[in-house]
Amino acid sequence: MTTAEAPAAREIPYVSAVNEAIRQLMEADPDVFIAGEDVAGYGGVFGVSRGLLGEFGERRVVDTPISESAIVGLGVGAAAAGLRPIIDIMFMDFMGVCMDEVVNQMAKMRYMFGGKARLPLTLHTMAGGGMNMAAQHSQCLEAWFCHIPGLKVVMPSGAYEAKGLMVAAVRDDNPVIVVNNKLSLGMKAHVPEELYEIPLGKANIVRPGTNFTIVATGRMVHESVRAAEMLTADGLDVEVIDPRTLQPFDTETCVESVRKTHRALVAHEAVRFGGIGAEFAAQIQEEAFDYLDAPVGRVGAPFAPVPFSPALEKHYIPTADTIAAEVRRLLGKQG
C-alpha cells in the first residue's frame, strides 16, 4: 500500500516479510546466523524468527541468555571475524543495557582501526507503543543511533519495506540497525517472493503531492497518508515521503519536495524534543530556506515517558489527526 510496485500482489503481513527475508538471506549465505533471546525454540516473541530453527538448526539460530551486551558483542566479534550476524534485541527499550556495545564498539571499531575491520552486522529490534506496555517497552529511540557515526539506521514503514530493507541491511558491510514497529507487524502489503533489496539511503515518495510535504518515519507514514487524505478537504495536496533509511538520510529527495511544495512537516512516533525530526527539520529549513512559506513543523510524542493506561497512551502516540492538526496550525503560521 505504501509502495509504487504492486502487480500480481502476493500480500503478506509485515512480520512474515521480515521472517521471509531472514530465511532467504540465511539460505543464500552460510555466514548469516541469527542470535537473540528466544529467537530459536520460540521463534521470537514477535514471531520474527518463526520456523528458522527447524530449517537451519541450533548452529545458526541461537537462543541466548538474557545478556544483551554479550549478545551484541557476540555479533560484533563474529562480524569482525567474518560472519554476517543478525542480532535480535527484543525491544528497542533494551538498547540501554547494551548501548556501549552498540555505540562504542560496533559503531566505531572500523574507524578506530583505520578501516581495517569490516562489520557486516544487522541489529534488529522492535520499537513503538500502542500496546499498553508502558514506559520501558514502547519507546522509539532511533535518534540516539542516528547521532552516532558508524551506524546506519533503517525504519521500515510496511511489509514491502520490511523485507527489502532487511535484505539491504544484512548485505551491507556496515552495522545497520533495523527498527521495526510492533503495531505494524500485522499489516499486509505486496511483498515479492524473491530476495530484493531496497537501497539504503534512498527515500520513497509514498504519495505525491504539490503543496505540502510530510516526511514521516515508520508507522507514521500510514498516519501521514491518512492525514493527507483528510487534508484534501482543506484543498491541500500533500506529498508524503518515507525516508526508509534514517541514517544516512536522503536530504535531496526531501528538500526537492519542499522546494516544490513550500511547506513541510516531519512526523515520527518518538518524543518530539530531540527526535530525529529535529535533524530533518533543521536540514530542510537550511537547504530549502528560500522556498519555505511556513516553518517546518514537527509531530512527535509529547515530553513524557510512554504511559501505561490506554486512556493516556491514545493521547500520547501521534495519529493522522495530530498530523493533520499540525499541518493546519503551520498553515496558520504561514509568513
Binding site: 520460540y42 537462543d63 538474557i66 499498553n132 506496555m133 513524557a304 515517558p305 501505561f308 493506561s309
Partner: protein, 372 residues
C-alpha cells in the same frame, strides 16, 4: 517514602503486628488451636510459631487469589497490556516478606504483583493500576510492570530484566548511610542472573557489606528458555562465591523453608554482616505472560503437573490442617473473605475514572510539569 526510621527489626516483633493486623480484620482465621512445637515441618531454631504459619498462609492465599482473578480479567481482555503472573511462586514472596517491616524495601521484577501483595499492597490500588485507572498505585501510568508503593518500601516492579539489583543496593546504601537496621530485598529471576547488572550490584553489595538480600526466584525459565539453555550451572546460589557472600538454596515451594532461610539472611543483613544470595527453587504454573501454562511448546505438561503436586499454597494448607494449626473451614472462610475483598477491589477499579489527558504531562518532573 520509607524514611528508614519507623521499622522494627527482630523477627518476632516484625511478624506479630502484621498477623495481629490480619487477625483484627479476619477474626475467624485465628481461632483453631495448635501447639507451636508440634509443627512437624519446623526446621530450625527460628521462631516459626503458629502466627507465623498463618501469616505465611495468608500472604500466599492473597497472592494466589489476586493473581488468579487478574489472570481471568486479562484473558477476558478486560485488563490492558501484558501480565506476568506469580502463581506457583507464592511461597517465596510470603516467606521473605514475613520478615519485613514497612520501612524495609524491596525491588521487584516484571513478575511483581506477588511481591507487592505480600508486602501488604492494597488490592484496590493494585487492580486500579492494572486497569489503568487514575486511582491506581501509579495513577495508571505504570501498569503491571511498574507497579510500586514507595511508602511500603516496594520500589517497583521493573520492565527491565536485571533492573532491580542496582536500585536495591542504592536503597540498602541509604539504610546503612543512615544507620538504620532496615533491609532491602532484591528479587530477580534465574534469567536475570545472567544480566551484568546483577553481577555489578552483587559485587558492590558485598564490598560495602550492604544490608541487602538477593533472592533469586529460580523458576527454571527465562521466558521460554529453560535454565539449562541459558546458563551452564544448575544453582544460581553458586554465584555467591564470586562476590564473597554466602549463597543459600531453599525449596521455593515451601513457605516455611523460605521463611527460615530468608530470616537468616535478613538477620545477617540487619546485623551489618552484609548481603546473602538466596536461591529459591520454584516454578511458574502459568505461562510467561498470561495464564495458559500447559499445552505450550517449550515445556512438557508432565513437568508442570509434577510441580503442581507441590503447589506451595495447597500443600501448605494441607499441612496446616493436618497439624491442626487451622482447619479447612477457617481456610475456606478466609478464602471467601479474600475473594470478597478482591471483588470489591475489582469493582472499585472498574468504577474508577481513567486518567485525564491533562495528566499525561504530570509527574514527569518533581516540580515543573515538563516541557514540550
Amino acid at each position: 517514602m520509607a524514611d528508614g526510621r519507623k521499622g522494627t527489626y527482630p523477627v518476632a516483633e516484625t511478624v506479630a503486628p502484621v498477623v495481629a493486623e490480619y487477625a483484627r480484620r479476619l477474626p475467624g482465621c485465628l481461632t483453631a488451636p495448635a501447639a507451636v512445637d508440634s509443627i512437624p515441618w519446623r526446621r530450625s531454631d527460628m521462631d516459626v510459631n503458629r502466627e507465623v504459619l498463618l501469616d505465611l498462609h495468608y500472604r500466599m492465599l492473597r497472592i494466589r487469589l489476586f493473581e488468579e482473578e487478574a489472570g481471568k480479567l486479562s484473558e477476558a481482555g478486560r485488563i490492558p497490556g501484558a501480565l506476568h503472573l506469580y502463581v506457583g511462586e507464592e511461597a517465596v514472596a510470603a516467606g521473605v516478606m514475613a520478615h519485613l517491616t514497612d520501612a524495609d524495601q524491596l525491588t521487584s521484577t516484571h513478575r511483581g504483583h506477588g511481591h507487592l501483595v505480600a508486602k501488604g499492597g492494597d488490592f484496590k490500588k493494585m487492580y486500579a493500576e492494572l486497569f489503568g485507572r487514575s486511582t491506581g498505585y501509579c495513577k495508571g501510568k505504570g501498569g503491571s510492570m511498574h507497579i510500586a508503593d514507595v511508602d511500603l518500601g516496594m520500589l517497583g516492579a521493573n520492565g527491565i530484566v536485571g533492573g532491580g539489583p542496582p536500585i536495591a543496593i542504592g536503597a540498602a546504601f541509604a539504610n546503612k548511610y543512615r544507620g538504620t537496621r532496615n533491609v532491602t530485598v532484591c528479587f530477580f529471576g534465574d534469567g536475570a542472573s545472567n544480566e551484568g547488572t546483577f553481577h555489578e550490584a552483587a559485587n558492590m553489595a558485598a564490598l560495602y557489606r550492604l544490608p541487602v538480600v538477593f533472592v533469586c526466584e529460580n523458576n527454571g525459565f527465562g521466558e521460554f528458555t529453560p535454565q539449562a539453555k541459558h546458563q551452564a550451572i544448575r544453582d544460581v546460589a553458586d554465584r555467591a562465591t564470586s562476590y564473597g557472600m554466602p549463597g543459600l538454596i531453599v525449596d521455593g515451594m515451601d513457605a516455611v523453608a523460605v521463611y527460615e532461610s530468608a530470616g537468616e539472611a535478613i538477620e545477617r543483613a540487619r546485623r551489618g554482616e552484609g548481603p546473602t544470595l538466596l536461591e529459591a527453587k520454584t516454578y511458574r504454573f502459568f505461562d510467561h505472560v498470561g495464564v495458559r501454562g500447559m499445552g505450550v511448546s517449550y515445556r512438557a505438561d508432565e513437568e508442570v503437573l509434577e510441580w503442581r503436586k507441590r503447589d506451595p499454597l495447597l500443600s501448605f494448607e494441607q499441612k496446616l490442617v493436618e497439624t491442626g494449626v487451622t482447619d479447612q473451614g477457617s481456610i475456606n472462610a478466609l478464602r471467601e473473605r479474600v475473594l470478597f475483598e478482591i471483588n470489591e477491589a475489582i469493582t472499585f477499579a472498574q468504577e474508577s475514572p481513567f486518567p485525564d489527558e491533562s495528566q499525561l504531562l504530570e509527574d514527569v518532573y518533581a516540580v515543573s510539569g515538563g516541557v514540550r
